[in-house]
Structure formats: structure tokens, C-alpha cells
Symmetry: D3
């Protein structure tokens, strides 16, 4: 089914695609996202990080745990033995808001870009949750894969 | 702590905020998001919906189940007896891509905007997962709350 | 949509149906199932119950925990504050095998027949798992709702 | 403990049996089940599949996700890196009802028949849930393993 | 069954006890625990809290999330709509180690002492996990209920 | 970061540490705990084990399932393919109470001491839950790792 959607069989029915013949290789993926907010809201983040009310610390933990829940959240994802999850959360006064990068690694038979996206997305949602008492019209965007490597389909950089 | 972050106590430590004295009321929230893709990728969605490979049908189920997992994903969210979840997923040739609207209701002591955001986000991630075999540089964005009503803080429209 | 499938909206899209206007009432449901096995296999159950290798005790716990996972397993089920789960597991030499009855109660806005079915089903699967080392061709059947009461649609006995 | 129940130690206490010395091999299992309903109820399924109200599409997704939850549902099951899940759901006018076949693969140290049974069972329960608004006395049965292969105990066909 | 174990029925079989006739009241429970470690290990905690490597912040989040998983972990616990979770984590140079107090509230039909114990226990385990790279022979103890109030059985202080 | 906390990167941010370059080896860990109670309460356990009201049998199952939830409970734990879980639960009239030993094995890239601790802790909490109707001031303690072997850091006995 060249160029087609691998999550569907030839008759169009969804399945968790068979990866049992794929090689076990080291795989890595990174994903990015941002949470846009007012400059005033951002001060709650930057002050909290330094002293108390650690918004980014909590979002980082949520993102790591989110990566582990990927196969539970995304119906056709394979459960994977994740070997690394890291999140970089950086306040950006020009956005203004927080920029998120999630990196996930595995040694397995399929890629981890969904795990990286889920980690970034969960961290973004947690930042929203922490700050929604002071601003309701924040926006989450820019959620995309920026690196995927280690599988048969080769290296992708976005 | 007027104007402050309710998820932190006066000393700056995170807690699940006490809502036991808040009234049990009917609450509703809606959230939106989009998945941007190439026009070619979008044809996989539109053809699938009509005939086979039902990308949107699967994303809708994932979004509904995602709403139910909100308190598990977002550390300081209260578990809530959700009374309704609906997702509207519409192909948009001008984006091009898919526009997502999630609506969640509860009869409880706290709002459901995080549940609506999580539903929309999970549906968007599932659409990405379904289509990533044909396009890796799709982007998810526009994730925000568009309606929140039923609590003490009144009606919010975004 | 009289006589129709409430889990779909008028355009045929799945949703978790809105129950926020339904009354909070005491609800109960029971479901049954059986696991058919050889008479020899059944002796592993009956001897274990009396002395060691407590197959039915473990299946009972699995069934109770299964009831609590219903909304996680069945996509359009509402999360419910279950107030009681009980499982009756009885060896039946005439089957031969084990007969299962699950009873679930809630005080809520929707019925618990799916919780009762899931409890019975999970107990049956656990019995299979415990005994599969000695017999692989056991069969699970007779899974059905035998009582549902407490909601607007009245009493059902099956 | 030849011919005995491997899930219990010599003193009769349950344990998750040690598989660390078993070979990592490719394993496959299939399981079947059916949902019996009236001919009228079945028309809701067959019309839905073609156009809207896609009962079988939703049950298929639930079954795939159910397979991934097996170790969480069945107390003594090992967590396994599932490499494939597929469900075949076929309306059968002679039953009348729906026939379910679930196929699961892994590359691991223990078999996947419980995963196949759980996938089939979860799909069956979801079909019941979708259709219970029009018929409450449907019955689920015929749940059994039809193929298990790839482990030390050889090929089983049921 | 005066004075008996309510989690078992008269025939000795486990069940999730029926609470549907109990009043919905405001309930609170607190539980305590400690993690004993060397004075050197404790400096990793105290320095981390002040500057970086926030052991206690992560343990606090884990404890809050642990409280929400109580009904999933403890077989016969009822799922409850938790309305508050807070954890107090205090370094104690005299122990030496960390002292943990967890407070949980609900408005429901049964108490939350298991939720408080699970929150304290999960926080303690997370502290162990964070610090085990520098000390393996830490010990967790003193896990007990210190307050339970709001139900029919009256106030308990431990 | 010799002697430091591996769960934090050089800038002090938490991450799930990269184990992808570690060898896949057979690993084992054991952990212990106890639940202290009155002699009268202990009779509920000892009588139940023999005939009915099987407190220890239920705690054993909860402990096994708890081990499988470790990566979900402890934020920075890696998901692991557990290959064995066993719990030994022994009434001790001198305590008086119940002594718990949990043994967990894996073939993987990181150790299983957190899984052993979580199994022991979950079993202890379940024993408390079963018996709290007759005694509220029980105490859980002595939770520690007694053996860890199979990784690069060598054998640890506690």
C-alpha cells in the first residue's frame, strides 16, 4: 500500500499495524509546541520558576508521564519500552509565552514521534491548567515533530 | 490570593485546590483545535470518511476517551463525573486540514475546560497518527477554550 | 430519535450522550456469564477453593476491579460513582464449569448494566487465564444482562 | 508441577509466573466471540457500517485498545510489547448478530491468547453498549481461543 | 456483622461494600509517613528544594496523582469524587529524612483515609526513587492515618 | 554527575534518564514491609486465610497488580517488561501483624527495586483497607529494598 495509510488494512479497516518483522533499533524523536499568553501571565511563570509556584516543574513531570500514556491515549499506537524522556520548557518574552521541546528515545520496532508529541501536548495543557485562573484565552500551537530518526524510513527533520 | 494562581498555596506549593464548598452546578466548556496538512493529505481524510479508512471516526472516539482521562493526565485536575462529550471534526479545504471542536458537560463543583482541551488535543494527535505515514510535517495549533459556563466565575467566550 | 441508537447524533456521529438532565437515582444491574470446561479442569477450581490455588477468589477481585474500569474500556460509557460491586462465582458440575453473576449499584444519572457485564466478563477471562495451563479449549458464554432497574426506562429482567 | 496450574506456587499462592528464562519468540493468538441479537437490531449494524452510526468501527477501536489493557485487567498476566492487533467484525444474518475474530502478535517470552480474548471480549461489550438502546436481551458467547502458536508448548488450534 | 470485616460478605467472599444508602457528607482524612535517610542524602533534598533538582516538588505531584489512583490500586475501594488533595513534605534533620502529611477531602458516601494513605505512600516512594542513586538503604515508615472525620463512624484521631 | 541524582540533568531539571545504552540484563529486586496491628486484629487475618475472608490472598493480588503500575505511579520510572512478581505475606504474632516480601524480575535496561517497593506498599495498603473496619490505628513500616542485583552497579543487599 505504497504511499497509503498504514493504520488501515486493504479493506479500509483500522488495525494496529504489524511491526513484528521490523528491526529493533535505537530510535529518537523530538516535538515542539508553545503556549501563548500575555506578558503579565508570563511573569507568573518566570517568578514561579525562580522562587515558588513552579509551573514549569509541574508541566515537565506531566509531560514525562504523558509520554508513558501514549499507547493508552492514541488508539493505534504500539506500547513501547521508552528509554528516555526529557522536556525543555523555556519562557520566551517575545512570544510571549512558553516554548516546549520534548525528546523521547526507545530501543524498539517502531518510532516514538507520537510519544514526543504527546509529551509536548500534555506539558502544554498542564501549563494552561496552572495559569487559567489568571488568563483564559491562552492558546496552544506549533505542535509538530522536529526530528525523527532510527527507523527504516530514515531521518526526518521538521 | 486574588488574581493569583489557585493551584498553589500561599507558600507556593502545588495542591489540588479545595472545591468542597463550591456549588454543584451544570457546567459546560468547548475547545477548538486544528490539524494543518497538505491538500493531498486531506484527501485521505475526506475519501476515508466517505468510504473506508475512517480517520475522523477514530479520532472522535479517541477524543471522547481522552476527555475521560483528563484527571489522570493533568496533575492538579479534579476527577469529574462527565455527563457529555461530543466532538465535531470538519475537513476544511482552505486550511487545508481538519477543524476540531470538543464540547464537554458535567454537573459538578468545578469546570470542564481542561476536559474539552484534552478531548480536542487527543483527537488532533490521533489524526496526526493516522496520517503520518503520508505526511510528517503536519502541525497542530489553535488549541484554545471557546466557551466556559456554569460556574461562579461566569460565562467566558473565546 | 425514538427507537434509535442514542450513542449516535442525528448525523450518525458517535458521542457520549448527554445525561445531565437525567435524574440522579439509585440504579442496579446484574449480569451473568459462564466458563465451560472439562470435569477434570473443574476439579482444579473446586479443590483450590477449599484449600489452595484460589481461582475463584482471584477472579472475584478481578471482576470487581474490572467494573471500575468500564468507562476506560467501553468508549462511550460515562464514568460513574459505583456504590457496590459483588460477584457470585459458583462451580457447576453439570455445565461443567463456573457460573458467574455480577451485581453493580450506583446512585447516578445512567445505568450500570455495562459495569455488570464488564465485571462478569473480566471474572470469566481471569478464570480462563488461571486454568489455561491445563485446558486451552474452554469457552466463555451466556454473557447477558439479567436485571436492570432504577432508571427512566423502568425495570428489565432477562 | 506437571499438569498443574502455573499461576500458583507449590504452596498454592498466586504469583505472576517467572518467564525470564523463556526464549523471546514470535507469538500469535486468535480468539473468537459473537454477539447474538434480533434481525431488526442487526439492521442497525449493517446500515451503520455502510453510511453512519458506525457500530463496528467503534467496536474495532475498543477491541484494539482492550488488547493493550490486558495486563491491567487480568491480575497475573505479564505486560507484553504487543506488535499487532487486528479485529475482524462480520455481520451474520444467520446468527443473527456479529461474529468477532481478534488476532494479536508479540515478540516476547509468553503467549498472547489472553490479549486476543480480551480484544474480542471488549469489542463484543462495545457492540452491546452501542445497541442496548434498541435491545437489552442480546447475548455474548462463543468466546474462545482458536489459535495459539510460537511458544514452547507448540501450536494449538481450537 | 458487628465488629467484623465489612469487605467480606457473610460467607466470607470479598465484595465492594454497598454504600448506596449512606449519606453524602463532607469527609476528610489525613495520613502521615516518613522517609529515613542519611544526613548526607538529606542535603540533596534541602539543596534541591532551594535551588535545583526539586525532589519534594516532584514527590508532591506524584502524591496528588497517587490519591486519584486509589480505587485503581486498592481492589475494594470505591471510586470517589475527590475535592481536595494537599501534601506537606518537610525535611527533618533529626530523623534525618523527610516527613510527609497528606490531606484528602471528598463530598461522598465513604471515607478517604485510603486516598490519604495512598497519597503519602506514593510521595514516599517517589522520594526514594529520586534519591536511590545516592543511597539504597533508605527506609519508609510511620505510614498511618492521623485524622478521619465526616462519616457515620465519627471522628478518629491517630 | 558522579554521586549525584541521576533523575536530574546538569541544570537541575527532572528527566527520565536515558538508559538506551545500558545492557539488557536479567535483574531482580526484593523489598520488604510490615503492617503492625493488634493481636485481635491479626486473628481476622489468620482465621481468614484458613477458611474465608482471605485478606492475604487479596493483598497478594493487589501487590502483583501494583508492581505493574509502578511506571504510572512513580513519575520518572521507566516502563519495564516485568517477567515475575511474587509476594510472600506472613502473619507474625510477635509483631503482631503481617510481614510482606515482594520479589520482582525483569530482563531489561534498568532495575526493578521501585517495582518491588510498589508491590510491597500496595499489598500493605490493601491489608490496611481490609482490616480498617476493626482497627484504624494500624501502622505500615519497614518498607525498604533488601536485594537488588543484575545491573551495572552490582549486588546490593539491605
Amino acid at each position: 500500500m505504497s504511499g497509503g495509510l498504514s493504520h488501515f488494512d486493504p479493506s479500509g479497516q483500522a488495525h494496529m499495524v504489524d511491526v513484528s518483522d521490523k528491526a529493533v533499533t535505537d530510535r529518537i524523536a523530538t516535538a515542539q509546541a508553545w503556549v501563548k499568553m500575555s506578558a503579565t501571565t508570563l511573569t507568573h511563570v518566570t517568578e514561579g520558576t525562580a522562587k515558588k509556584g513552579d509551573v514549569l516543574g509541574i508541566a515537565r513531570i506531566a509531560g514525562i508521564q504523558g509520554a508513558k500514556k501514549t499507547a493508552d491515549l492514541i488508539p493505534l499506537c504500539h506500547p513501547l519500552p521508552i528509554t528516555k524522556v526529557a522536556l525543555d520548557l523555556t519562557p520566551d518574552a517575545n512570544l510571549p509565552g512558553v516554548r516546549i521541546t520534548a525528546t523521547v528515545k526507545t530501543t524498539g520496532q517502531t518510532g516514538v514521534e507520537m510519544e514526543a508529541l504527546t509529551a509536548a501536548s500534555t506539558a502544554a495543557l498542564t501549563i494552561y491548567d496552572m495559569l487559567k485562573a489568571v488568563q483564559k484565552d491562552m492558546e496552544i500551537g506549533g505542535l509538530r515533530v522536529t526530528l525523527k530518526d532510527g527507523g527504516k524510513s530514515g531521518r526526518f527533520e521538521g
